[in-house]
């Protein structure tokens, strides 16, 4: 067993300042994950050289892998840090901010572009208002439910976007997560009413056709969401839509 937990953390004081690395060593303890170690570290932020530094900034909330806050790059892989168990990680453990998103400070990034993506594709069901109309939604078969449910668990952690070669500041590509939500909304019995609109939105620049089919997204998704299946289904939907558009039956 190891005596230490050895961390190499990529730090950055602000969005415009250069990044730098710092190393830390904490006494080994069982039952630790990356967040719990960062919590210990902030009580005593002293580098391997013995320098007292400012505590590392990072984001976390639920600690159960459902809120999506704590995603970062751990040993080069984008993933939630609350479920990254120390005993399973090769040391030194490399912690870096989630790639592709602007750094706010240290491991804290700005993921607002994910929200913008969701708005762009109208990732919601149009309802008259949030009041009771004395009727629910149309029925959904258990089989259909179980497929939809896979997609409704997307927590906007951003791992799929971080791993996608097409996504980033260099491109307009909307990324896998918002696309999967189009798949979800288009399957809902009343969400279908706006299917055409959503499809047109992902047929524009930065949409579905920018996907390079690298399949990284599905490999890193912590919730095992079948992102590439969604993208495949959307491919068929948009092809059909393009034909309908062509023959004026939008």
């Amino acid at each position: 067993m190891q005596d230490w937990i050895h961390l190499r953390i990529r730090r950055q004081d602000g969005p415009e300042t250069p990044a730098y690395w710092q190393e830390f060593r904490l006494p080994y303890a069982p039952d630790q994950n990356v967040v719990s170690v960062l919590m210990r570290l902030r009580e005593h932020p002293v580098t391997i050289e013995g320098t007292w530094v400012e505590p590392v900034a990072w984001d976390s909330n639920c600690m159960e892998e459902v809120c999506g806050s704590c995603a970062m790059s751990i040993n080069g892989v984008p993933r939630p840090s609350c479920s990254a168990l120390i005993d399973d990680l090769a040391q030194p453990i490399l912690l870096e901010p989630l790639p592709k998103f602007p750094v706010v400070r240290d491991l804290l990034v700005d993921r607002s572009r994910m929200d913008t993506g969701l708005s762009r594709v109208k990732a919601w069901i149009e309802i008259d208002g949030a009041w009771d109309i004395h009727e629910g939604a149309p029925r959904i078969s258990p089989a259909e439910w179980s497929e939809n449910y896979l997609y409704s668990r997307c927590m906007s952690c951003g791992c799929c976007m971080a791993a996608c070669p097409q996504y980033g500041s260099h491109s307009d590509f909307i990324g896998p997560a918002p696309l999967a939500q189009v798949r979800l909304m288009n399957a809902h019995p009343t969400g279908r009413y706006d299917k055409t609109d959503r499809l047109h939105r992902i047929m524009a620049t930065g949409g579905l056709s920018d996907c390079g089919n690298a399949q990284n997204c599905v490999r890193v998704c912590p919730k095992a969401i079948p992102l590439t299946t969604a993208i495949g289904e959307l491919g068929r939907q948009t092809t059909l839509q393009a034909l309908k558009d062509l023959f004026g039956r939008g």
Binding site: A57, N61, K122, W124, I125, W131, D132, S141, M155
Partner: protein
Amino acid sequence: MTAAPKAIVIGGGLGGLWAALRIADAGCQVRLFSLFEVKRSHSVCAQGGINAVLDTKGERDSIRQHIVDTIKGGEYLANQPPIKSMCESAPGLIRTFERMGVTFSRTPEGILDQRLFGGVKNRRTCFAGASTGQQLLYGVDQQVRRLESQGRIEKHEWWEFLSLLLDEDGICRGITAMDLRSLEIRAFPAEAVVMATGGFGQIYAPKTTTSTNCTGAAASRCYQQGARFANAEFFQFHPTAMIGTDKTRLMSEAARGEGGRIWVPRNPDDARPPHSIPESERFYILEEFFPSYGNTVARDEASRAIWRVTRQMGLGIGGSDRVYLDLTHLDRGFVSKRLGAILDIYRKFAGTDPLSQPMEIFPAAHYPMGGLWVDFEPDASGGMRPGSLRNHATSILGLYACGECDYAYHGANRLGANSLLSASFSGRVAGESATNYLKGLARATAEPSERILTEEVERQTAINRRLMESDGSENPYRLHRELGELMTSKVGVVRANPELEMALAELQTLRARLGSASLGNSRAWANQTLSFTRQLGDMIELAMVVARSALERDECRGAHYKSDFQIRIPEGKFPGDPEYEDYRARWKANNDRWLKTSVAEWRPDGPAIRYEAVDLGVYPPTDPRDYR
């Protein structure tokens, strides 16, 4: 020109998003504040489900029964008109969630499935796989995004509410908030403010199932500015949370329900792996303490038994705060099928498999029944009058509260799957009240005087400056750990007055020590230590309310347990027996004395507590609970 009246909602969990939707639907402009993207709010943690009577299981379930279960579950301490209205509205809320696209689990016929949940006899709980809270929150999050795209809601994510703007008459006229990146502090005038900032489990950290942001600081700030805080002594502890140093994660009741056994080695120094400890050397805690119920005793009883064995008898595994929750004797296939979600969480966060090795658990602070005091207006039917300005109004005019940060629905103990319901329902009600308040304002849109804004911004800025410049010897994160340890040991599952007095004294010391905290973080950009240190001060204030309210309440009710004041049912005696009738008389006398809401008001030297009558108009207590 009169602009659309402005409302502010603070908090983007279920409560806050429902409030925002309701206000925007009524045509008023809303500003929505949250510490982070709203969809990351603590509401996502709820797995189990949400209660609503749909009566689709052939069990003759009724709304009346839901009302009675809620009232009894809270040991009569909650005002009954709001409960009545909540239970009546539940089916409509579920239908609305369904229209929003929430992926509720289905029956073979494609309608919403319902399951059985703790403390009730009927299948009444809707669920969405094993992530009900997440799915419900996303439903309203999507609707808020829809209205945002129409410019009807304006989100301020990564902004922290700091204080209320109160005018000369003590009326709430807006808030101050801090941008968590630039640390800029700004005043946001508004005619109505809705607090929906969630619970405060973090005062027990790390022994809590709540998210790291559930500090209660926002509610505490309102309390310190004069809002009343009610029933703070009632905190639900969950008996089986898996061990963690960051937080402890909930292992649902189902683990015990399906045959899980709780035990410790009879010898706490026994270092053998659990499976090689012979039966004769195991102490099956619940089976020995409760021969007739065994491992399925109620939450509270289980928590107290584990407490007794670890903290009083010193029999925790290796002398620590741990006991085994064992599933290894059960059929693997059966367990995998029935408890899949628990197994996944445990494997993921502990790295071991509960099918081959017992889980290690301990009770954890789970849900505060107490919160900001809110009003209601009863109507002739015994419910809450729809549309009344008083519903969910705090004691500060213009300030409303909903969700886990209010105290309204759960009395002395919360029924499982009732708080997603109360958060949603109360959010909608608070939104409606705030809207009606806005529409009825005589002074229209007169802005509060500039002086109020600048003075408050200055006061908040000065707090930041002092903290940034302080170079004392205390580390705020370590102080937080001490706070959690103190609250867990002395204001936790089992309480006694001498310890509560000590706790109050120690809280005073913590408060003083926080005065010499050093941030070790001087950058005026995304400075998390600054924001946390401020929150810690507010957590200590709240902890004082909890401890003081607990000290003053000399009885056992719901989650509040003081062994010195327990009134026991005489063994083997039943109604009609003189001993039982004597017990009934004591029970009645105790209710006359203690069936009251405790209401705290902030004072510089600690909270002042007084008591208020409970509205028992729907289902008054006539008989003690008797589970025999």
